[in-house]
């Protein structure tokens, strides 16, 4: 794999060897952090986080990652309301200016393609921290790292993706990464209106990935899954309240459903959750979502070190 300058799409990570190296680096970050033995490889370097969409955890995890590596951060949230964007400045101009102050830019935007646009003109690395319904590659790296860490393997997995597969950009980024591994099978569980977009289904076919689609999160899916990945079904995406009511309960994971999973299966969620995983599931050993969130810190540290050190 060619050395990356920018991180825009999960599809840039098409080399399992590279990912293994990145995961090793993340493991080392995790260990050194616990040992309180982190060195400062990015001392004197600065990451700017430009967030045009609300986010706390992603922004914090980028900023914590940078600071734990000894670097500094320039941070701007609510860019949409509070910055020169309100005065009509283009994203290109903003990136040109900020790249003069910062050594890397993490950008989140409500429009798909913004990070790619920024990368075309930026002299410093651009990291896509989520662009509309497009991609969220660092979340996908976090997810694959979590699966590897929790289950010890990435091949031969049965992965059930549940919820809003139409708008879920974390899912759109996760699929190409999981397709790098052998014999991965997908169960795509969503209301019909929120099906995985055609282009992603075509991608799965192109990669000869096995998948089946269903509107029901049934016992067969639960009992076979190695990974149950839940996303939030957003009420506002439905045409009518009745439609939402008719499907929403099927996707609320409670303790009884969680216990039908295999003992070694894991439950993942990019968070925040609203009510799609009941809090009683948190005590279940299969609940990996809080560990997943923590893993995001170490993957971002490994990535920043790769891009900047």
């Amino acid at each position: 794999m060619e050395r990356l300058k920018h991180v825009i799409s999960a599809r840039q990570f098409d080399d399992p060897e590279f990912l293994l190296g990145l995961f090793e680096s993340a493991n080392a970050m995790d260990r050194d952090d616990k040992f309180r033995a982190l060195t400062d490889p990015l001392r004197g370097r600065i990451l700017a986080t430009l967030f045009y969409e609300p986010s706390t955890r992603t922004r914090f995890s980028f900023e914590a990652a940078m600071q734990k590596l000894g670097g500094g951060v320039l941070t701007a949230e609510n860019m949409r309301e509070s910055s020169s964007a309100t005065k009509g400045e283009t994203i290109a101009d903003t990136v040109r200016i900020v790249s003069g102050y910062a050594d890397a830019i993490a950008i989140r935007h409500f429009e798909q393609g913004t990070a790619a646009e920024a990368a075309r003109i930026s002299p410093v690395p651009i990291i896509n921290a989520g662009d509309g319904v497009g991609e969220h590659p660092t979340q996908a790296l976090t997810d694959v790292y979590t699966i590897k860490k929790e289950l010890g393997r990435l091949s031969g997995l049965r992965v059930a993706l549940v919820g809003d597969l139409l708008n879920g950009r974390t899912i759109h980024s996760l699929l190409p990464l999981l397709c790098l591994y052998k014999d991965v099978q997908f169960d795509l569980i969503s209301p019909w209106q929120l099906r995985l977009p055609l282009k992603h289904r075509e991608y799965l076919l192109e990669k000869h990935a096995t998948f089946r689609e269903s509107e029901k999160l049934g016992s067969e899916v639960l009992e076979q899954a190695d990974v149950l990945y839940i996303t939030r079904v957003q009420k506002e995406r439905f045409a009518s309240a009745e439609e939402y009511e008719s499907v929403k309960d099927a996707y609320i994971l409670d303790a009884a459903m969680a216990n039908r999973l295999k003992p070694e299966a894991i439950i993942m969620h990019a968070l925040p959750r609203v009510n799609e995983i009941s809090p009683e599931v948190d005590d279940n050993a299969r609940a990996a979502y809080f560990r997943q969130a923590k893993n995001g810190l170490y993957i971002r540290m490994a990535l920043l070190k790769y891009l900047l050190a």
Binding site: R36, G152, D226
Partner: protein, 416 residues
């Protein structure tokens, strides 16, 4: 090498064929059966190679305890018991407590056919190694010199080992001291010593973000504390020994009392049954023997510990027959979880490591014959101390073959 038959991983059981590379010793593929197998498996079950992550091989640079065990005889006993990887405790006279002594002891493991992971010791004066290794902390007096006099002293040391992988021997020294005058070994080391020490170990594990492990867990009363800690997300796992699952204090007689003396001691029948259930439901993670070879002469004088490597695989058949463990459950507690424990300490040439039959993992297998009962005889034991607490007992099954990185170590008499 190619082996075909019924394969039991921790997550599924299936008929298949395993191909192992002669060059790397790693599994290259797992596919459908074609009728060709280098080992006649018959109706035996192929497990990922078993791992025993708590043993005492006794050998160190000084060699003063090699009259009762060394890495060669440990390896032979392990192969006999279907064990393909072990982790060796550091309470040697020349204890591996720093980089130099650890490296020195590691060289000695080269003669072992089964892979040996070494624990480093944590004592009152030690520092973390520069290498990433697992550690062992002894709380109360047992065998060796690595003890702490008080909880404060132990905590002061553990603070230096923040984030490390640390295993704890849970017996509170204070309670052991108070109980010194009691008439029996079991009463001198009461259950509450373990329960109190468990609370303290869990506190240390949580506070110092350790990858914690509780060794040879033996009391029912401590199990809810482990369950609560796991539910809180504390990174803790726990071992249980064959002897605490098989024997209890109601079985002690004047004849066997000294032979069955160990630390922690045998507990009551209720403890034993609770441990079996906890192993089944995942609260306890590993069957680990605490294999402690002492000669019969030493045992007669009241030395604690029993040798258990030779009987590891046969004991698994007892769990299946007597307590209805499924093949997946056995694969989980004897192979998968132990493999996972040692993974981060393995050299790169061992690929994905131990504990799963899948491409990229080590080509080490344990093949169990569940239909050939095995009477345990002293003269068949391969541990140098040459005896077993199971002598005279007939296990419902036996180890048919142990495969180490694509090389078969077939069993002799009795295997069909």
């Amino acid at each position: 090498m190619r082996v075909e038959g019924l394969i039991a991983n921790h997550d599924r059981v299936f008929e298949g064929a395993i191909e192992i590379s002669d060059e790397t010793g790693l599994i290259t593929s797992v596919g459908p059966k074609t009728g060709k197998s280098d080992i006649e498996v018959g109706d035996a079950i192929i497990f990922p190679g078993f791992g025993d992550i708590h043993i005492h091989a006794r050998e160190d640079a000084g060699g003063s305890q090699m009259y009762k065990e060394d890495f060669t005889t440990t390896s032979n006993a392990a192969l006999h018991g279907g064990v393909t990887q072990v982790a060796d405790m550091p309470n040697n006279p020349v204890a591996p407590v720093d980089d130099a002594r650890y490296a020195e002891k590691e060289k000695l493991t080269a003669k072992s056919v089964v892979h040996v992971t070494l624990y480093a010791g944590i004592g009152p004066e030690t520092e973390p190694l520069t290498r990433h290794v697992p550690y062992k902390a002894f709380m109360g007096p047992s065998v060796g010199d690595l003890f702490f006099a008080s909880q404060e002293q132990l905590e002061g040391q553990i603070a230096k080992y923040r984030g490390r992988n640390v295993s704890f021997h849970c017996e509170d020294p204070e309670i052991l001291r108070e109980s010194k005058g009691e008439p029996t070994h079991e009463q001198r080391r009461p259950a509450r010593a373990e329960i109190t020490a468990t609370e303290f170990a869990l506190y240390l594990i949580e506070k110092y973000e350790l990858q914690g492990k509780l060794c040879h867990y033996s009391t029912e009363g401590g199990l809810p504390k482990i369950a609560a800690a796991k539910a809180r997300g504390v990174t803790v796992t726990a071992e249980v020994t064959p002897h605490h699952l098989f024997f209890d204090d109601s079985m002690l007689t004047d004849e066997n009392r000294l032979a069955l003396q160990m630390n922690p001691p045998l507990r009551g029948p209720a403890d034993r049954l609770a441990l079996i259930e906890a192993l089944r439901n995942g609260l306890l993670d590993y069957v680990a023997t605490d294999h402690a070879p002492h000669t019969l002469e030493e045992k007669a004088t009241g030395v604690s510990g029993v040798p258990l490597l030779d009987t590891y695989g046969a004991f698994a058949t007892w769990l299946m027959q007597e307590h209805r463990f499924t093949p997946q459950e056995i694969a989980r507690v004897c192979a998968f979880n132990p493999g996972r424990f040692v993974k981060e300490f393995l050299p790169a040439e061992l690929g994905e490591g131990f504990g799963v039959i899948a491409p990229g993992y080590v080509g080490s297998l344990t093949i169990l014959d569940l239909k050939s009962p095995w009477l345990v005889k002293r003269e068949e034991m391969r541990t140098k101390c040459a005896w077993s607490p199971f002598e005279g007992f007939t296990f419902p099954g036996r180890v048919k073959a142990t495969v180490i990185r694509g090389k078969s170590y077939l069993q002799s008499a009795g295997a069909r």
